[in-house]
Symmetry: C2
């Protein structure tokens, strides 16, 4: 699978914005930190803005800014904004419905996987962008 790296990059972007405290940051500047193309950053920023996490200022001197305080942005919100697919992907072809197992395995399994995904999300919900920013600063102190 070519797994999506969007979530990690989105966190990187938001952390960069948080460290600028309201000053608009150009997509080109962010892209230089992430190590990717400005258009990629703008595309992610577009999704983050739709989710209400950022806002952009057009025109000269413009750029992206946080729309909420870092403390109020949970990692789950960021994850959701990326519209990632389910962690556990169901089979592509329909199982044989005339078979006892084929008819019932996937619903039975889904009950467990949904609980597991919920546990995953709950952990992300418990961490905020502020914590990430704090960790970034702490790492810089230690070095």
């Amino acid at each position: 699978m070519a797994a999506s790296t969007r979530f990690c990059v989105a966190v990187h972007i938001l952390a960069s914005l948080a460290l600028q405290r309201g000053k608009p940051v150009a997509s080109e500047e962010i892209a230089a930190s992430v190590g990717t193309n400005p258009a990629v950053v703008r595309r992610l920023l577009s999704d983050l803005a739709s989710a209400g996490l950022t806002q952009s200022q057009l025109g000269k001197g413009g750029g992206a800014m946080l729309a909420k305080a870092p403390k109020k942005i949970s990692l789950l919100e960021i994850y959701r904004a990326m519209d990632e697919p389910a962690i556990v992907a169901p089979p592509r072809s329909m199982p044989n419905q005339t078979c006892l197992v084929g008819r019932n395995v996937q619903p039975a399994l889904r009950r467990v996987t949904e609980a597991a995904e919920a546990a995953f999300f709950a952990t992300l919900a418990g961490a905020s962008l502020k914590q990430i920013v704090k960790d970034i600063k702490a790492d810089s102190m230690a070095a």
Copy 2:
């Protein structure tokens, strides 16, 4: 992303074996229940055998069987046997190491994502193949 469906299919396969109570089941028969190609089933079975969850009998009248009791097979073991990639994929290109954020975001983020993945795995570890089989039977009763 073309997410992997291997885990769900593997559970389907193992549930089919569990319901046969030790009688070897041919890959063709399993494939008919799953709705896929026998070679796909054999490939998954190969991974499951490597993980010690199944064993195969070659030759005429052969097929696959469980190597352990359903009660002793957790969904986490099955998931691990599929060798799925990490749930949260790190960026492909290295962030700019001369930048405070670029240097430190990913390690900081990883601490949280590892905790989230651990929560996901813990839930899978708490469920066994036996439960799935029981649910399958229960569903058939209800219908």
